[in-house]
């Protein structure tokens, strides 16, 4: 148990290390990314360039620069931006995190409840017109680009029909912290999170439907019926129990990926100052410290989520608990 935990932690650290090296290497291999020139600005004198080189340590070997940057990011936490001179990046990421967390929590709420309702309904009513309609809707939801949907939502609720009774409540774009006004927080996030959730509802409903239908053909479901269990119990208790494994793991990974900045497009479209938007800014300005900080933040979430999903798997399925993976 403890050994497993230790090796797991080691693996996680190794993955994060690998990602950081990769980001660092790619940055310095990118043409035109030379930070000295960017910081010094166009047409700076050689003396200025040399001074900046020395000040930021760009004259030292890359491994040393890498170690220095990691130290500043993780230990002294005073890594500063190359673009906004002297702006520390760690607080910036920490400020953005609650925005993204709020957005993703709301979205997860919508997509889990939506996909459960649609997935179960179309599995129970399989091959009926309801099922076909829901699956077509799901496919549509799955294929609508989220930034386009976001723009349309904005167009409709912010300008076109903003003054109608239906959308009068919609607040201007941007974020309201929970501590400032819980109700305002919920209002500000309602449409963005719903927009973000649409594709996931489509995907998760499809996954759940097919998993449920596979599960319903299992012998153990026949046994449940033979025991005298009613349809509600058979579907929701036995059927879901057999089919939610892949649903749960998919959820864990998507949730982490979004927390790590995967909701970038939604955040940009709805002007939410979250981690995704920060990543977007960092990439647009080629600001290595900010890129490194946001990528590391994302990597930690994804790696930890992976570990959590595996743990949850073991909790949900006793066969995996004993290392008999896949039988």
């Amino acid at each position: 148990m403890i050994r497993g935990f230790a090796s797991r932690t080691g693996q996680m650290l190794l993955v994060i290390f690998g990602i950081s090296v990769l980001v660092f290497a790619i940055f310095f291999a990118t043409p035109g990314a030379d930070p000295t020139a960017r910081i010094a600005g166009r047409g700076a004198s050689p003396q200025v360039v040399a001074r900046i080189r020395a000040e930021y340590g760009f004259d030292r070997p890359l491994p040393v620069q890498y170690l220095k940057m990691m130290e500043k990011l993780f230990i002294s936490r005073d890594l500063t931006s190359f673009v906004n001179h002297g702006q520390p990046v760690v607080p910036e990421v920490l400020q953005a995190a609650p925005v993204t967390l709020s957005l993703v929590l709301w979205a997860a709420f919508f997509w889990v409840s939506g996909s459960l309702v649609f997935g179960i309904a179309s599995a129970v009513l399989r091959d009926s017109w309801v099922d076909r309609l829901l699956m077509v809707l799901g496919l549509v939801g799955l294929s609508i680009p989220v930034f386009w949907l976001g723009e349309v939502v904005n167009l409709v609720t912010q300008s076109r029909w903003h003054d109608t009774l239906l959308f009068r409540w919609v607040p201007p774009l941007g974020y309201v912290p929970f501590s400032q006004s819980p109700f305002g927080w919920a209002k500000a996030l309602f449409l963005p999170s719903l927009t973000l959730a649409v594709a996931f509802i489509g995907l998760y409903a499809r996954v759940l439907r097919s998993e449920l239908l596979t599960a319903m053909g299992e012998d153990s479901i026949r046994t449940a019926r033979a025991k005298g269990a009613g349809p509600v119990r058979v579907w929701l208790w036995h059927g879901l129990r057999l089919s939610w494994l892949s649903y749960v793991s998919l959820f864990g990974l998507d949730f982490a990926q979004l927390l790590g900045g995967g909701a970038l497009l939604t955040e940009v479209v709805f002007a939410l100052p979250g981690v995704g938007r920060l990543t977007y800014q960092a990439l647009a300005t080629l600001d290595l410290p900010l890129i490194m900080a946001t990528v590391m933040y994302a990597a930690v979430f994804v790696v930890v989520a992976n570990a959590l999903v595996d743990g949850l798997y073991a909790l949900l399925d006793p066969r995996i608990r004993e290392g008999r993976h896949g039988g």
Binding site: S220, K227, G228, P231, L242, L316
Partner: protein, 317 residues
């Protein structure tokens, strides 16, 4: 001194929504304290017969009659049938590994069945589960109840399955090939257990493709061929003097007690005809060595001796 008829299938006919008849005409009786063996090659409709009795085939159209404890089951609302399932009649299946839900302990699954039919507390249900497991010969039943299906051996799993089936004291136990997935020694133990259940007064319907199993366990036998019962009677009499040519072939094919069990009958070539390609006359005619012109009209199942019924022109008076 005739025991009460528990289950009576009368001209049970089952078809797909497209009209293909899966079961043509199944008639059989199970009395209390009887164990009826339902034998036939695979694909002959044994499982379908069992599932019809349990009302577990909602997609198929059934006609004829299924009487259980004097009550007609065909046309019953699902809600009423559900109250019978697991309580009045219970079923165990071929593969106890897949028949249990893999993600819950077997104790929890047995408790569930008890609590589906009776208002008892969790604690009472568990006490009954443990007692049942003990009665079924599961060692250390309290610990066994907490284990997951994959943690038990095949034999113990099937005992747990039987414990679950018996948990609400059903009058009828249907066992669909309960020993096919088990090795020979365990098979014998499970069959002994079924005999004890029968002796305690329940009716047992044992489905198998193995005449040897019937000989060991059952009091009566119904031979099914391609969706029809072709012979029915007491085991001793049928074994001593099988009437239907198919029964004769089955008996010649009893496999040795150990060693591999062949799937096809070695004594007669061919396979039963598929549901959509049944001959119009006697369904066994394509493989029968006594076939003659009047076999082109399907013979009905009729009583030819006291308690013995057969569907074959050879016995027409």
């Amino acid at each position: 001194m005739e025991a009460e008829v528990l289950l009576k299938l009368h001209h049970l006919h089952l078809e797909l929504s497209n009209g293909t008849a899966l079961l043509e005409d199944v008639s059989l009786n199970v009395r209390r304290g009887d164990a009826l063996g339902v034998v036939g090659e695979s694909g002959s409709g044994k499982s379908l017969t069992a599932m019809s009795v349990m009302g577990l085939l909602p997609g198929l159209r059934a006609s004829g009659s299924i009487r259980f404890e004097g009550r007609e089951l065909l046309g019953l609302k699902d809600r009423e049938w559900r109250r019978l399932r697991g309580a009045g009649m219970a079923m165990i299946f071929q593969d106890p590994m897949t028949a249990f839900l893999p993600v819950r302990s077997i104790g929890a699954q047995i408790d569930e069945q008890i609590r589906l039919h009776e208002r008892v507390s969790r604690r009472e249900a568990r006490a009954r589960t443990v007692a049942l497991l003990g009665r079924m010969g599961v060692p250390d039943p309290e610990a066994a109840a907490k284990r997951y299906p994959h943690q038990l051996s095949g034999g113990l799993r099937q005992r747990a399955m039987i414990a679950m089936a018996l948990s609400c004291g059903p009058a009828l136990l249907i066992a669909d090939e309960p020993t096919t997935a088990l090795d020979v020694t365990v098979q014998a133990q499970i069959l002994t257990l079924l005999c004890e259940i029968r002796d305690s007064g329940a009716g047992v319907m044992l489905i198998t493709h193995d005449m040897g199993v019937v000989a060991q366990t059952c009091t009566h036998v119904a031979v099914v061929y391609s969706g029809l019962v072709v012979e029915q009677g007491p085991v001793a009499a049928v074994m001593a003097r099988p009437l239907h040519p198919y029964t004769q072939a089955l008996l010649e094919a009893i496999p040795p007690l150990d060693g591999p069990r062949p799937d096809a009958l070695p004594t007669i070539p061919g396979r039963p005809s598929a549901p959509d390609a049944r001959p119009e006359g006697c369904v066994f005619a394509p493989r029968c060595r006594f076939v003659r012109p009047d076999c082109a009209v399907r013979p009905a199942l009729r009583e030819v001796e006291e308690g013995r019924r057969v569907a074959c022109v050879l016995y027409d008076a």
